[in-house]
């Protein structure tokens, strides 16, 4: 056996480059495109300023119902004809929703993108929204949410969100709503939301071989018949942080694992500490070799995996840790996870840990941004957060330049181990006493049902 003992060092780094970005203003809307020469596939994504944050309180899930209703026929053709037309191009209409935006996209061989954008625009701008169809879609969505909420996770997520942000606020309720909120929607909610938010031009993101695409024609198609000026995006929301840590127990009788969701409010996306915060999160819970995954999975074997990160939208953010652990070790897993968060807040990160975190995050900008779909996602970040064309190159430099004191300071400032809400969804009869005995905080039983 001859194995080479010495670990090789890196070769000469090739220069990093994000694809060339092209911006246009056409017919009242914006186009942001990336040139991918030679790429056979192309993606077009329409971004509308119609995220979950636009839904009225009590009407959570409205955007999701509207997204499904878009495919129930247009002013030009019925649902079946629409499905056959768009799928004959090789794509489905993919819709997505986050706090800041609604997205509708198509992915096709590059020569078919024009036809696909026509169908995308037809559904988004001129859906039929027949009342019977809208009611049926709503009922189906209620059923789909009930199915989803039968899994471990959604109830714990909702309990954490409500505790962090307040169930009286839209951002304190589930992003996609819950079965009850969707059941309460009526046809008018959907048609009004459409006319208020889906007729504005928005931004068309295109990722593909621009030598084989006509951006002006795509934009004209996407923005035909639109109107309405820019809308106020709102300012960052001040979210109060709890003075004491607490446990919320969500009962799931017979569960062989406990679902953990730990969190506290965090900075919004435009916070100046964004990069050091992201790196602190990476060291604590982002990379496979993170402190949390190393201890809870690789040393203890309590779980298949545990992750933690800071996530942020335009107006608010949060730090959260999530995992599923074997029922019998729920209490020790919780204690040790909180311990790692506290240790990171108090002691910061080491140079060795930061070296992995910064190289990983920087390298991911080459490794994970290959497909047209991934590039379109990166472009949408530019649009949603008003970032420049060279954002990814600058981000890479910022990541690689981050120093231990900066990242440790971000951990010290933005981690709040004493203010954590610890949501545990599991077999309450088995784990309740042990959770109380941890002394981690006062325990509240979450009401049953949703």
């Amino acid at each position: 056996m001859t194995l080479i003992a010495d670990r090789p060092g890196p070769g000469t780094a090739r220069p990093y480059r994000f694809p060339q970005v092209v911006r246009r203003s056409v017919a009242g809307g914006g186009v942001v495109a990336a040139h991918l020469p030679g790429q056979n596939l192309a993606v077009a994504m329409l971004l509308l300023d119609a995220g979950a944050g636009r839904e009225p309180v009590g009407r959570e899930g409205l955007g999701g119902v509207l997204a499904k209703a878009l495919e129930e026929g247009t002013t030009q053709r019925d649902a079946t004809a629409y499905a056959l037309a768009i799928e004959a191009l090789g794509t489905e209409l993919v819709t997505g929703l986050d706090w800041d935006t609604f997205q509708a996209s198509v992915q096709v061989p590059v020569g078919r993108l024009g036809a696909a954008v026509e169908l995308l625009a037809e559904a988004v701008r001129t859906p039929r929204l027949d009342p019977d169809d809208v009611r049926r879609v709503r009922d189906d969505e209620v059923t789909a949410l009930r199915m989803d909420w039968a899994n471990p996770g959604p109830r714990a997520d909702a309990a954490l969100r409500a505790d962090l942000f307040g169930a009286g606020n839209r951002w304190g309720r589930p992003m996609y709503g819950d079965p009850d909120s969707v059941a309460g929607l009526d046809v008018e909610d959907v048609t009004v939301f459409h006319s208020e938010w889906f007729i504005r031009p928005g931004t068309l993101v295109v990722a593909g071989d621009l030598d084989r695409l006509d951006l002006d024609a795509l934009a004209a198609t996407a923005f035909t018949g639109t109107g309405g000026g820019p809308v106020d995006r709102g300012t960052p929301i001040e979210v109060p942080v709890r003075s004491e840590r607490r446990i919320i127990l969500v009962d799931r009788p017979g569960s062989v694992q406990s679902t953990l969701r730990l969190g506290h409010p965090g900075p919004h996306r435009a916070h100046p500490d964004h990069v050091p915060i992201a790196l602190a999160g990476t060291v604590l819970g982002g990379a496979f070799t993170s402190r949390l995954n190393h201890l809870i999975r690789e040393v203890r074997g309590y779980t298949y995996g545990i992750r933690g990160d800071f996530a942020s939208s335009r107006r608010f953010g949060r730090f959260a840790v999530s995992s599923s652990v074997q029922t019998a070790v729920t209490a020790p897993a919780l204690v040790e996870a909180v311990g790692e968060i506290a240790r990171t807040q108090a002691g910061g990160v080491t140079e060795d840990e930061l070296a992995v975190a910064r190289s990983w995050r920087a390298g991911q900008l080459s490794v994970e941004l290959q497909s047209p779909r991934a590039i379109a996602g990166a472009l949408s970040t530019l649009v949603v957060h008003d970032l420049p064309d060279d954002y990814h190159a600058r981000l890479r430099e910022e990541l690689l330049g981050a120093q231990v004191d900066q990242v440790s300071a971000a951990a010290a400032t933005h981690l709040r181990p004493e203010s954590l809400t610890l949501v545990v969804e599991g077999d309450a009869a088995v784990i309740r006493d042990e959770l109380l005995a941890t002394g981690l905080g006062e325990l509240t039983d979450h009401p049953s049902g949703t």
């Binding site: 090789p8 890196p10 056959l84 061989p109 017979g254 992995v356």
Partner: protein, 430 residues
């Protein structure tokens, strides 16, 4: 119709120890994908050792002769890379995509665990990863509604002793019984250069990769005799439908209809791939149009059909639907069976065929749009068909499938006499 589904260069070299090295240069982005297929999967596991191939995959990340425990992940992520591994009935694959200047590191790591895992393998590591895998089993199969469907379908489709009879995750009892010596022997038996394919795709050259492969893998000796898995190519039809009904904590009735078809890579399976798309991909599919939209007995987000791309025995085709509120499991099962039956009797139209081929074309180029997607495909075709260049034939083969072939294959393999049906029914809550 495109002449090729793989318009990039492919070069294959076989080292003296039998390792096949496949290289496909593409300078578009400064990234490179490294992908290894070992020709060992859960089909090789004897009774009493189910789940061992997959548990072994976990051990491959826990250190080797020159790589300390946990260092593998740290070095790849610390180089900016993405990495993972998967195990299925057919094979085990390991892969990382790294910025191009770290290619040599990736090859060094892969060589060290191919040639030097056993000296680093400890009881402590085995015990830890056994616990991790048992938690994986709980999280993915036991603690979610319908999570065990695949575990139940396999024994309905394949008889005891067949290499696909048991699921890759294995049984808790077998995992508990796993001992260190068995894993040491597992590595010595199967993790040999002559039982593996190394594919490298991206910002590099054939000369560079072959020289590095020779340097790092060249000293690893081949194993003269690698035992074959049991032969599963012929599964005699029973002539009796297999049915199982599970009454448990699920939110709605759900039905799976499954058939053994043809092995992945065969002309028959190309037909099955197109057939499955006609049947169950998208809102224009027969299942959606008939059950979700037409009769409205199925939940629209949860109808579908797909083939499972296994190459060493007739591969499964699975169709599934979940009942809308008020619809019984029986009615749903009858509706699902009827749509499957009609594939043999109601000709597929030109529009249905074009739709399916368009969706498959996009799916194909989506996999080919990344260097890691291409590397995995090359490893597959080199491992299973002994020639990575045959990857180029798949998409044209799909596009050549006719409506007549679909009706013929449906009549041949989707008969009601040879069908496995798995039904979940909600438990009455007292």
């Amino acid at each position: 119709m495109p002449d090729s589904g793989y318009p990039w260069p492919i070069s294959t070299t076989r080292l003296d120890n039998g390792l096949r090295v496949v290289v496909s240069e593409d300078r578009t982005a400064p990234a490179v994908a490294v992908n290894l297929w070992y020709d060992v999967g859960s089909r090789h596991e004897p009774a009493g050792q189910t789940g061992f191939a997959h548990l072994f995959e976990h051990l491959m990340f826990e250190g080797s002769t020159h790589v300390a425990k946990t260092e593998h992940m740290r070095l790849v992520q610390g180089a900016g890379g993405s990495l993972n591994a998967t195990t299925n009935p057919d094979r085990t694959n390991y892969f990382e995509t790294v910025p191009a200047e770290h290619l040599e590191l990736a090859l060094w790591l892969e060589a060290d665990r191919m040639g030097g895992l056993v000296p680093a393998l400890t009881q402590e590591t085995l015990d830890n990863q056994r616990d991790v895998v048992k938690n994986e089993r709980r999280q993915r199969y036991e603690n979610v509604p319908y999570g065990d469907a695949w575990l139940r379908l396999l024994p309905l489709l394949y008889p005891p002793g067949h290499p696909y009879h048991h699921a890759t995750i294995g049984s808790m009892a077998d995992l508990n019984a796993a001992d260190l010596a068995t894993f040491q022997a597992f590595h010595q038996t199967y993790y040999a250069p002559n039982n593996a394919v190394l594919s490298v795709v991206g910002d590099t050259t054939v000369d560079e990769v072959v020289a590095l492969a020779e340097k790092y893998f060249g000293g690893i000796p081949p194993r003269p005799e690698i035992p074959a898995a049991p032969d599963g190519r012929v599964v005699p039809p029973t002539g009796v439908p297999a049915e199982e009904t599970v009454v448990t904590e699920v939110p709605a009735p759900r039905v799976y209809v499954a058939h053994r078809t043809h092995p992945f890579g065969s002309p028959g399976y190309d037909v099955v791939t197109v057939l499955a798309t006609v049947l169950g991909s998208g809102r224009g599919s027969r299942l959606y149009q008939r059950l979700a939209d037409g009769e409205r007995i199925a939940q629209p987000d949860l109808v579908g059909a797909y083939g499972v791309d296994l190459a060493h025995a007739p591969a499964p085709l699975i169709a599934t639907a979940t009942a809308r509120p008020g619809v019984s499991g029986e009615r749903l099962a009858a509706g699902l069976a009827e749509v499957v039956d009609e594939l043999a009797t109601v000709p597929v139209t030109a529009a249905e065929l074009d739709r399916a081929k368009a969706l498959l074309t996009t799916a194909w180029w989506r996999q080919m749009s990344t260097v890691d997607g291409r590397a995995d495909a090359l490893s597959r075709y080199a491992t299973q068909f002994d020639d990575p260049a045959t990857v180029a034939e798949r998409l044209p083969a799909w596009l050549a499938v006719t409506a007549e072939q679909i009706a013929e294959v449906a009549a041949e393999v989707l008969g009601a006499d040879d069908r496995a049906t798995l039904t979940y029914l909600p438990q009455d809550k007292q």
